[in-house]
């Protein structure tokens, strides 16, 4: 798709409607004709197309490998009101698949460039870019969308989004108001494998219900990394985890950026040195880079957006995986809701510890438990009528002040049986309430 210098056959332009004969014929056939496999609630009409063109508002999260494909698919399927959120800027290594970007765009925000491309190429389509983190928005922003589609590359972000949509749910006398449900369609890929799923918050399995499906990141034991490396990966992890914070090669407080070639080059050189010490071969530049990111691309999600927006067919119920390493293999199943899911079950989560357990043990449980997998939880409790921060990592001064609490017992901290602990973490927009249940 070369850059066009000559004008297109049809007039482009943000928001100006420009219909030509037969433009939406392929879409119309699914909206204006009845059929034997449609959704039981489906009624063929000419109004559905107008809804999709004029009213339906879709939010696409991520303008990377998945995001670019999604924006194109949605725009070409008749969705004209799309917002896209992505805080990243374009890197050269994106250009082999994020096709809305060109070499001249390197360094510019992905959301902006993606929106520009779609708006100028697809007449009538209006994509509004947001170069921000998803956490920069609150309920008032998310509430305006009919459907949200995620093309994210992190489980933490997915869980946050999941939590946000769950917080929008309205219950009247314990019954869920269906109009408060915003469907979440989530896709993810790596190399020749991928998955797509449909989440109806409050009704179907949510991200946290199936957290155990995501294998926890391979974390090599510290003793291996620190003193007993065997594989080239151990050497690279050593440099990343231990050497970088010690030597601060690019200045105080400068974090390792997996997309910065200078950073990667430094890690690579140091990893070679480490490997040489132990006669380990196999450290390459490419391996060094690979330890920092994963791959992306997919299209089944956009079909689900269409199905849900048009009510034309019963949506995917609810999880599809594919693996194209050997032939093409897909498997579709219904992921089940977890009865005591920490995100969507509304069942109070219990923490079972003895009063003589240290706070550190509670922290370890929150981060290591397969069903919680928190990143850096902040724990507060009401003690003697006052709100007390027991431990918080994200602000250095508070971390220092509360660190001694980690080695105190729950009893010493003044906590009692049945006490509520409020726990905040990057994996959820809302504070989670846990109930302390003392064991003898």
């Amino acid at each position: 798709m070369a850059d066009l210098d000559e004008p297109m056959v049809v007039d482009g332009g943000t928001g100006t409607r420009c219909e030509w004969e037969g433009r939406w014929n392929h879409v119309r056939k699914f909206l204006e004709r009845s059929g034997p496999f449609t959704h039981p609630d489906f009624e063929a009409s000419t109004e559905s197309l107008q809804f999709m063109l004029d009213t339906c508002k879709i939010l696409v999260i991520g303008a990377g490998g998945l995001g670019c494909e999604l924006l194109k698919d949605l725009a070409l399927s008749g969705f004209c009101n799309i917002h896209v959120v992505d805080m990243d800027t374009i890197d050269v290594s994106n250009l082999n698949r994020q096709f809305l970007f060109r070499p001249k765009d390197v360094g510019r925000p992905k959301a902006d460039v993606a929106a520009e491309f779609i708006n100028s190429r697809i007449p009538g389509c209006c994509v509004v870019p947001h170069c921000k983190k998803i956490q920069d928005f609150d309920e008032t922003f998310y509430r305006q969308f009919h459907i949200i589609v995620c093309g994210l590359d992190s489980i933490v972000a997915r869980r946050w989004m999941n939590g946000m949509l769950l917080s929008l749910l309205v219950y009247e006398d314990g019954v869920l108001d269906p109009s408060s449900i915003i469907p979440l369609i989530d896709g993810g890929t790596e190399g020749f494998k991928g998955n797509a799923r449909v989440i109806l918050p409050g009704m179907t399995a949510c991200i946290d219900c199936t957290l155990e499906l995501y294998p926890p990141q391979i974390n090599f034991p510290m003793c291996t990394i620190a003193s007993m490396p065997r594989l080239p990966e151990h050497c690279i992890e050593y440099v990343r985890i231990l050497l970088w914070p010690k030597e601060k090669p690019f200045g105080d407080g400068v974090g390792l950026d997996g997309d910065d070639p200078d950073h990667i080059q430094w890690v690579y050189q140091k990893s070679l040195e480490r490997a040489a010490e132990f006669s380990i071969t196999g450290v390459t530049y490419r391996l060094t880079q690979a330890c920092f990111s994963s791959l992306f691309d997919s299209a089944a999600c956009a079909t689900e957006v269409f199905k849900i927006a048009s009510s034309a067919y019963i949506p995917l119920n609810n999880y599809m995986v594919f693996n194209d390493v050997d032939g093409l293999y897909t498997y579709t199943f219904e992921a089940e809701r977890k009865e005591n899911c920490s995100a969507c079950s509304q069942v109070p989560q219990d923490l079972h510890f003895s009063p003589s357990s240290k706070l550190q043990e509670v922290l370890d449980y929150l981060t290591e438990s397969a069903s919680l997998q928190m990143k850096s939880p902040a724990i507060t409790a009401t003690v003697e009528g006052k709100n007390k921060t027991l431990y918080l990592q994200s602000v250095a001064s508070i971390e220092q002040r509360t660190r001694p609490n980690l080695s105190k017992t729950l009893k010493e901290l003044g906590l009692s049986d049945g006490q509520e602990l409020a726990i905040a973490d990057v994996t959820t927009p809302q504070t989670m309430l846990f109930r302390l249940s003392f064991t003898s």
Partner: protein, 462 residues
């Protein structure tokens, strides 16, 4: 600052180079792909091949040439030309919410199949000389705790296996009961402290956990056996592809230096051990693999004067994909009736979608248009399409039943090509083309059906 010593192309293609390597990328850049019909599916496939760097393209679109649509007949004629020329042919079609792909390639060889879950090649049941002597160099009983706890589990299993064999008439543990007893034997080897409490020896835990796989007999996979016994392997000529020459060399290796086994793969999984013990063990396997590869190379030299790279570590995973031609699929004499009727035992199997696509093509041949394109046609075309379905089933003597609902649905589609389905198919097609060109990963054989309604798919061999 230190600048990255990579060309901008390597930077751009970094993510895909991790999948198929420089040699795979080179194959893509030397390839020339021809796209026939710039439909939504066709252009999606094209975009997905331009992005990773396919070298050259030729685009042929029937509309500019003569206004003729590419129907069934053209496909068959084209198919037979390409079959004779041994040019791989991929047919793709998006029809309503159904996607269809048909791969036609006579013989596609795969050296690097990149299998997902491969078993390790440890040779514990028949340790080669160097492995035996390396194992001998360990004396578990006399080791200090630090060394004892950081001995690789492979050594541990090997040592205890020696013990077992000497006590069981050289018979390895075979059934569950014996394997359990073997695990116990290993557990007993865990050091105990002064109070007779077993120490925390993770390497011994690993040994116990890996007993099952460690005791797997070294065997040549059936797929590879078949290839070795195939005609192409027995009759090497100057025209033989390097794949077959290499396979023949491996066969000769098996019959001589290999003593009935494939060349050693040379890799071992990571395990609890100190760096030196692990590296030493790894090197034993690595060096043996290099030795075996050199032996295979000698055989190759003897078979032919010059051949390309020999890749022995992939010996277990060699694959060949041979598709039937379109002529065979369509001919009444060779149609794969069994495949069709057995899948149609479930009337909603994706096979019904394949039959409907065939019926729709038949409709086009008779009426020079597809069914239900215009709203007024939908109703009346249902009965016409049904006639096509019946004539199709009759011609091929297929005793199956196709529900009326599918006939209605395919009229409803009106040959629409919704973008999202075209995009899915375009992505899948591009991936298969990349597999064919790079000879890495395994292509499908030979008919793929995607159902966007149910988000399911199936592969048939027709």
């Amino acid at each position: 600052t230190m600048a990255a010593t990579k060309t901008s192309k390597e930077q751009r293609y970094d993510r895909q180079l991790r999948l198929w390597g420089d040699h795979g990328q080179e194959a893509l850049e030397n390839a020339h792909v021809c796209l026939i019909n710039a439909t939504a599916t066709g252009t999606e496939t094209l975009k997905n091949l331009v992005l990773p760097g396919i070298g050259a393209f030729t685009i042929v679109d029937g509309h500019t040439v003569s206004g003729e649509d590419v129907g069934n007949n053209t496909c068959l004629r084209l198919g037979s030309v390409l079959w004779s020329a041994s040019v791989p042919f991929l047919v793709c079609k998006t029809y309503g919410l159904i996607g269809y792909m048909r791969l036609v390639v006579k013989e596609h060889t795969v050296i690097e199949s990149h299998p997902d879950n491969a078993l390790e090649d440890l040779r514990l049941d028949q340790p080669f000389a160097e492995l035996k002597s390396h194992i001998q160099s360990y004396d578990l009983e006399s080791m200090e705790k630090k060394d004892h706890s950081h001995t690789p589990w492979i050594i541990i299993v090997a040592k205890y296996l020696e013990k077992w064999l000497s006590e069981h008439n050289s018979q390895p543990p075979k059934n569950y009961k014996e394997k359990e007893a073997f695990r116990q034997l290993i557990r007993q080897g865990i050091l105990k402290n002064d109070n007779d409490v077993p120490e925390d020896e993770e390497n011994f835990e690993e040994a116990v956990k890996n007993v099952n796989t460690a005791l797997n007999p070294t065997k040549i996979p059936t797929a590879v056996e078949d290839l070795i016994n195939s005609e192409q392997c027995s009759n090497i000529t100057s025209q033989s592809a390097s794949f077959w020459v290499m396979l023949r060399a491996i066969k000769e290796f098996i019959q001589s230096e290999g003593n009935g086994s494939l060349p050693v793969r040379g890799t071992i999984p990571d395990m609890i051990a100190d760096s030196q013990k692990f590296i030493n063990l790894q090197n034993v396997y690595r060096e043996k693999a290099m030795q075996d590869a050199a032996a295979v190379s000698k055989h190759v030299e003897c078979i032919l004067q010059s051949v390309g790279k020999v890749s022995c570590k992939n010996a277990s995973f060699l694959r060949v994909v041979c598709c039937r031609s379109l002529a065979e699929e369509y001919s009444v004499d060779s149609v794969n009736k069994d495949e069709i009727t057995s899948y149609m035992d479930s009337p909603d199997s994706e096979m019904v979608l394949y039959l409907m696509l065939r019926a729709v093509d038949r409709f086009y041949q008779q009426h020079s248009r597809y069914p239900g394109v215009y709203n007024y046609q939908v109703e009346e075309d249902i009965s016409k399409l049904k006639l096509c379905v019946n004539s199709l089933l009759q011609e091929y003597s297929l005793n199956v039943n196709i529900k009326d609902d599918y006939i209605h649905e395919f009229c409803r589609y009106g040959a629409a090509e919704p973008h999202t389905v075209a995009a899915f198919l375009g992505g899948s097609a591009a991936q298969e083309v990349i597999k064919i060109i790079s000879h890495q990963f395994v292509p499908f054989n030979n008919t793929f059906i995607y159902n966007a309604m149910s988000q399911t798919s199936a592969t048939f061999q027709l």
